[in-house]
Symmetry: C2
């Protein structure tokens, strides 16, 4: 078989003729980003053939400049009969993997973890009673009132011989009854402390976050987040579904999700100085596609009419079955999904708002993720709508975009007079990029001070070194170039991505309000969730039209609500018991099936909106008249 070597790593694989270079790169363990999921439509998974020959699909999308420079899209380049050397340029990397802190969770009083711990002493084997290790364990548990039908999964059985002999028979047994029947989660020698460790996971399309908690005290011990390793296989859920349809694609996506989760679990365990094998419970919240991919379930029918996923309520499987590297017997609870386009991240997020309570006042929940979700309702009704906002607010598709992690510019002011920026950076170091809250600030400040017009074009005519033209596109220089330091630029394309994202969120909200015949002013409280970082400036979010122009005291920023909701489900049996009802109460509105959604979206593709009467306070402040 032809041997394909990749530069600069030198990794080599033997690959059958006809396989595309994207698959070949994945098999070689290379990091090669395919934002459209290998669909041939984005022209981003570029590689250069240094030696040998490949067969290139002439219809593939590729920028003429890139083509002239010898780049070819890997997903449309096929191994011919000969050995090849392929260069992967730095720009084609995803560079996922960096772990950071940032999210915060408000601790709550626990009222029922997934797992309970029983301490007991198993007398030494005597050879006369004819009992096996499992027999001796069951006898000890029965003496404590448990069993006799308690289930002992195989990974637990494998640990028994050591655990029962490790500390003269003193053991700590973790047990779950979450799946209807008592099951042993873990048997540990001695009296390990703390027991009842659990992880809450927000499995986002772009970002994955893990919180390590003590489910007995409710204490949050560590929170870590990183990009989802699946980014290399598509930036949004539709691209991921495309990728899942490739040979081996579903398994690659499953593995990537688990790689991301397990890396964060290790980082959190390291910070809390505990052994990840001692974590005995988990809750995961993800949208319906992410939930399917993490479980290795084919997501194909999520996008095919009538949009029926395999699972909405996920049974409580064991961590070892799923591939999460904590105690293999640990129960894993998934926040239930509502439908194909509203998932467990939304139901978990709603749990952190008054929408999950018995309130009469109408509230709105906006989760600004790659898949944007909005939920409106009160004790009588819950309506939800999802839209594809893209990853711009999490730094995806933005040239210098990044998550709210150390090095991110997370807050920006622009001097109206000269266009000079001042900004704050997360952590102690130099600016490496800009996160969602920084982008919102920058776009809002440039717009309000007149350096950016409502259509998202930078003003090239005024005298500033901050704005540079690059071909037909202009960009704003936050750092680097004439100003020194590492470059952080924001281009008109980046701004366009932010405008599209905010337009999608606005359109979904407006569609729902129209459906029930109320206006934004009728909403008592708006909860905003998302991975912007702690510094989201509500005023600026209104200025760009992401949030409606209503009294600011009605807004609550709830941060990563999917993560917070996972945490609440981890420590509260009451919430777990009611969560499926919450999911069933939600009615889904399909924006794709409603032409008014596209009207709302198109109208919102300006700053803050085509209809300035919707944003009266912004219209008054804007430096230039709104059209």
């Amino acid at each position: 078989m032809p041997r394909i070597s990749f530069l600069p790593s030198g990794r080599t694989v033997e690959i059958g003729e006809g396989m595309d270079l994207l698959d070949a790169a994945r098999r070689a363990g290379e990091d090669l980003a395919a934002p459209c999921g290998g669909n041939g439509t984005c022209g981003k998974c570029l590689v250069r053939v240094v030696a040998g020959t490949v067969k290139i699909d002439a219809t593939a999308v590729v920028d003429p400049e890139d083509a002239a420079a010898g780049y070819t899209p890997a997903c449309r380049s096929y191994v011919a009969g000969v050995d090849c050397v392929i260069e992967i340029p730095e720009r084609s990397r995803t560079n996922t993997g960096e772990v950071s802190a940032g999210d915060e969770i408000e601790p709550v009083a626990p009222d029922g973890a997934l797992v309970r711990t029983v301490d007991c002493v198993v007398p030494p084997p005597d050879g006369e009673d004819g009992l096996s290790d499992l027999g001796r364990l069951n006898r000890a548990l029965a003496a404590g009132g448990m069993g006799p039908d308690i289930e002992c999964p195989l990974p637990v059985a494998r640990s028994l011989a050591g655990a029962l002999r490790g500390d003269e028979g003193r053991i700590s047994v973790a047990i779950t009854g979450e799946s209807g029947r008592d099951r042993i989660v873990r048997v540990a020698a001695g009296r390990p402390a703390p027991t009842g460790l659990g992880i809450a996971v927000d499995l986002g399309t772009t970002t994955v976050a893990v919180a390590l908690a003590d489910t007995q005290s409710g204490a949050v011990l560590s929170i870590k987040s990183a990009y989802n390793d699946q980014i290399a296989m598509g930036l949004d859920v539709i691209s991921r579904i495309n990728y899942a349809g490739r040979q081996g694609g579903l398994e690659a996506l499953r593995t990537a999700a688990l790689t991301a989760i397990n890396r964060l679990v290790r980082a959190a365990a390291l910070e809390a100085r505990i052994d990840a094998g001692g974590i005995t419970s988990a809750v995961i919240s993800g949208n319906t596609v992410m939930t399917h991919l993490a479980l290795g379930l084919d997501p194909e029918h999520i996008r095919l009419a009538p949009y029926t996923p395999t699972l909405l309520d996920v049974p409580v499987y064991r961590a070892g079955e799923i591939g999460i590297e904590i105690a293999p017997g640990a129960p894993v609870f998934f926040s239930p999904c509502v439908g194909s386009y509203v998932g467990g991240d939304t139901t978990a997020g709603v749990l952190c708002t008054e929408l999950a309570s018995d309130a009469e006042a109408i509230s709105l929940f906006i989760d600004v993720g790659t898949n944007g979700e909005v939920v409106i309702g009160n004790r009588d009704f819950l309506i939800t709508c999802a839209c594809s906002a893209g990853p711009a607010f999490e730094g995806g598709g933005i040239e210098y975009g990044m998550r709210a992690a150390p090095g991110a510019i997370n807050s920006v002011r622009v001097d109206p007079a000269n266009g000079e920026p001042s900004f704050s950076i997360l952590g102690d170091g130099e600016a490496r990029g800009i996160c969602g809250s920084g982008m919102i600030d920058l776009v809002a400040q440039l717009f309000l001070s007149g350096w950016l017009d409502p259509a998202g074009r930078l003003d090239r005519t005024r005298d500033t070194a901050r704005i540079a033209a690059e071909g037909r596109r202009a960009l704003y220089i936050l750092a680097g170039g004439p100003f020194g330091g590492a470059p952080v630029h924001v281009s008109e394309i980046d701004i366009e991505n932010i405008v599209r994202a905010k337009a999608a969120i606005h359109a979904a909200s407006a569609l729902m309000l129209g459906n029930i015949g109320i206006s934004f002013n009728d909403i008592a409280r708006i909860y905003i969730a998302g991975g912007f970082g702690r510094t989201l400036d509500i005023e600026n979010a209104v200025a760009i039209g992401l949030l409606p122009d209503i009294p600011r005291e009605r807004f609550s920023y709830v941060g990563n609500a999917s993560l917070s909701g996972s945490y609440r489900l981890l420590v509260s049996g009451k919430h777990r018991a009611s969560q499926r009802d919450l999911a069933r109460r939600m009615t889904y509105i399909d924006p794709g099936g409603d032409p008014r959604y596209m009207d709302h979206y198109t109208a919102a593709l300006f700053l803050p909106h085509t209809d300035r009467s919707l944003f009266p306070s912004i219209a008054r402040r804007a430096a230039r008249p709104l059209r």
Copy 2:
């Protein structure tokens, strides 16, 4: 890291300094036999260092001739800092892997399989009811009176999307209630036939056998057997326990057992022209060490006082969890073990005899395996004893030994006058070796006709080309050499191994009889089980002292009783329900704790026995006077 290359395969691995060559060979995927389990005591895992240098433990056991020829035991040769090329000679191979037929099973009327099959129709998804695929399946099952709490394991969930859409919603659902709660085993589109396929497995120390059966009709569709791939890691259970203690050893043994089982499952499925993925139940019978190794359970405490295994009654795990390549949700029932030295192979074997019935007469069950087991009793008592007979009757440790497979000499006659043999061969081809029944015949015939003395020495003084001296040892030439064809020799060492094996079996039987104060003549029926092949000659087995000298009509040869018992457990819910009681009724006598065992053993190291009064019919027939 140093690179170790093996000849003649050319396989190369990079290995850390200090690792021994046995482990290195295993990591490279080489077949290298370690009869003592890598314990440095047998001097058989010989390799030759062709290039480079290794560090050799000077105390390792190695034959001086082998040492002079440049051979060194791999388990006591350690990688130094440099690259090496290592030759593995043909004689160090195990050559497992050949699959053959041979065993027979008497079909019985089924009365309750592990799995039942329900046909139903799931209406197409409509997008309005808000149901997932699992929700739709559960609704269909509930309409048929099942559920609502039926468990859906993850591998089954992964198949749902395809199965529910494969044949317009017509599905066949396999369900098991064997572990206390209904669980979905498999969902298949359409009306696959046959349903209810199951496998019965005899997981022997030396030989593995798999029977594929239709559990609804009781028909046996195919039987395949092969050597256990674990042979490379030790010939007996103690050697395997040693090997399990090496780094990665337990996992290597687990994988080897599953490799053997899965190879046979594929061969049986191929012969029956069915898809192995459609096999929905399994029963495994193995001794306690084999049971532990197949499940990846540390067997260490089986040989350490007080000899407490991790499991005796194995919970019903799923095939996918264990690693058996049939339907991953298929329940796997293990025949229960009695104690560390009497396992599920014995309880399965007893199931095929009157010992498991309500009979008043006393019966004896003798299972001549590598681990020999004897059971005596009636409806009032069951006593059992195990001994280490070694693999000689299955061809192990015999230079030209082989299983009862095509090419095996399975029946031998010797002309008393000139010592010339006549023999039959299994299958159509040339003789390639000799199996257990052939060895019993040969030793008995040589002994009865005076060519072999009671101590197992061949007569070098009489005029025959069949007996050749080789150093201080003589051998008997069945084929090859001056007689043409491929060589099949039997040496005095081979005969010694047979004599030791039969002495161990005899001693265990005699010890038990002595304990309850009866003689062989008081036994109404003796059941003989083992992998001899169908042609076991009872008269010859008595002549060598393997079986007692009692009226021949009291003997029943039951073949591979562990396999037959597995089959009965596979098709009978009644047997499964009573099997754990059967195991609990058995009382184990430890021969190691009784000095009389060694007395019986030593006395039996002659043909047929030191005390000729125990074998009156043989004493009369023997050509030479017995001492």
